[in-house]
């Protein structure tokens, strides 16, 4: 088995997939804690549907670089969803559900009416569940992904304390002079970038798993924001790595394998947390 793995690692496309997969997993786990705690677990889901809709439009328009359309649209929707914050008229979950189904429906509709492809359902399926596109990345795409990931991680570290303050208590942060709206905006933009990146890896339907599972697993085990964040990042990278390796060896779909590993790790963390907590109590 190791031989087989070694053989696969000879191929550049396998190495690219591993690099990109691990980076995406790292980025998506960072904001997971914030999103879970702000009750925005489904934002990944909603935004990825937006990205799906945008992708459909881009495909119909025959754009060579669909990122140019998908990224701005997703960012705008993320801002609209998160900007309203704690005091929205249509509460977070309802707004997300609304945007998510509408864009999904329109995306499919547009693809259906205008599609030039002969394999429509195949196209839709691969956009939704992650395709083999992670295994067909070009060198340029890998570099774009590395650059964006470095930017996301750097921004997260620089604004870590502000993000904590705004997540923990938005009103207090505002009252003590922190521009909470600006940081909510920042979180919205970062999450949109991550979603668009992650669509390559797991497809639009499974992105939420990458965002929330590591955070939820880490929250079973740790009790401070910093250790939860670090643990989430480590778990996420580990799961993505393992998932990609398994999918290569066993020939399973990449996205769903990663999510399955994430789910199993969550189960282990849950049990571990119970035992650990039991000892403490």
């Amino acid at each position: 088995m190791l031989e087989k793995l070694g053989m696969y690692l000879q191929y550049p496309f396998v190495r690219y997939a591993l690099i990109v997969g691990v980076l995406i997993a790292l980025c998506s786990s960072l904001l997971g804690v914030t999103l879970v705690l702000k009750r925005y677990s489904f934002i990944g889901d909603g935004l990825s549907h937006v990205a799906f809709g945008a992708m459909a439009v881009a495909a119909v328009l025959n754009l060579t670089n669909e990122m140019l359309l998908v990224l701005p649209i997703t960012i705008i929707c993320a801002i609209l969803l998160l900007r309203t914050g704690q005091h929205a008229k249509i509460k977070g979950d309802a707004a997300i559900a609304m945007i998510s189904v509408v864009t999904l429906a329109f995306g499919y509709l547009i693809m259906n009416i205008f599609s030039t492809s002969s394999n429509l359902s195949g196209d839709v399926c691969s956009t939704l569940f992650g395709s083999t596109s992670i295994l067909t990345l070009t060198k340029r795409e890998v570099w774009i992904c590395i650059a964006l990931s470095v930017a996301v991680v750097a921004i997260f570290i620089l604004f870590y304390n502000k993000i904590f303050a705004v997540t923990f208590d938005e009103d207090f942060a505002k009252a003590s002079g922190t521009d909470a709206n600006a940081y909510n905006l920042l979180v919205a933009i970062i999450i949109a970038v991550i979603i668009v990146l992650a669509m390559n890896l797991v497809g639009s339907l499974l992105i939420s798993a990458l965002v929330i599972f590591p955070a939820l697993s880490a929250m079973r085990l740790f009790r401070s924001f910093r250790s939860v964040t670090i643990c989430a990042a480590v778990l996420s990278v580990f799961c993505a790595f393992l998932g990609i390796i398994i999918s290569i060896l066993a020939g399973t779909p990449v996205g769903s394998t990663i999510v399955a590993v994430d789910a199993i790790v969550f189960g282990l963390c849950y049990i571990g947390g119970k035992l650990f907590g039991g000892i403490h109590a």
């Binding site: 705690l37 704690q86 304390n161 904590f164 207090f172 009252a175 003590s176 002079g177 009790r223 401070s224």
Partner: protein
């Protein structure tokens, strides 16, 4: 000179007026209690004082060198905090955020300030504990320590003792009184009129009739005695 002067303030949400014609002043070292029935606009007033909401009309002036970000605030707890994984130190340190400005990380003096605030509130021993696993009284003391990190002169407290048992309640009042004696101006929303009368120097009563004055004036005034009687009646029943 007054650090806070409020004139003809009208509060509300969109077109619905919650409270109107509020005028009062707060001097340095005062202990002001804001009392009144549910829905009389106490929390709205506090949010307006903190500039989280804008008033429908009227003015709020700060004086005596008080800046916007020098007000410490103890809000009512939010649902998010009930399962937030954060250590006590992380929570208290986040009170220094206003001092940080655009600087990304806390510096040494801010960390020391956080340690000092924790010691003052008697939660230093809990520094590494998880915030959500503490008792209600401990949580309030942690949030008070956080507010102290932000406050240089004024603390705004929104029902600091709600949900606490009698022992934790009296401990909380003692801590607040101690802070006031150290020269920090206290503005507190309270349901507990007996405690308000006991600790405060000034009282603002909100509701159909608005009263503002010193504690002694309040006790003589009709609004206060009526409210006291009502409270007493409820307790007897």
């Amino acid at each position: 000179m007054a650090i806070l002067t409020v004139q003809d303030l009208t509060l509300g949400y969109e077109s619905y007026v919650v409270a109107k014609d509020l005028s009062f002043t707060v001097n340095s070292g005062d202990y002001l209690c804001i009392v009144g029935e549910n829905g009389s606009g106490k929390t709205t007033l506090m949010k307006t004082l903190l500039r989280l909401k804008s008033p429908m009309s009227g003015t709020i002036r700060t004086g005596d060198g008080l800046e916007k970000d020098q007000i410490g605030y103890l809000p009512q707890q939010t649902a998010v905090q009930k399962d937030f994984p954060a250590s006590v130190r992380e929570v208290v340190l986040s009170g220094c955020q206003g001092r940080c400005g655009r600087r990304p990380f806390y510096n040494r003096s801010e960390k020391q300030l956080a340690e000092k605030s924790m010691e003052r509130m008697g939660v230093a021993a809990l520094a590494r504990r998880c915030f959500r696993e503490l008792s209600g009284g401990q949580q309030q003391r942690v949030l008070l320590a956080r507010a102290l990190c932000a406050a240089r002169k004024v603390l705004l407290l929104d029902e600091p003792v709600s949900g606490l048992d009698p022992k934790a309640t009296s401990e909380m009042y003692d801590l607040i009184e101690g802070l006031n004696r150290d020269g920090i101006t206290i503005i507190m929303i309270s349901h507990d009129i007996a405690a308000a009368v006991r600790y405060a120097t000034h009282i603002l009563h909100m509701g159909e009739r608005v009263f503002f004055g010193t504690k002694e004036e309040y006790l003589k005034a009709e609004a206060g005695s009526r409210f006291l009687q009502q409270k007493g009646g409820e307790r007897d029943a």
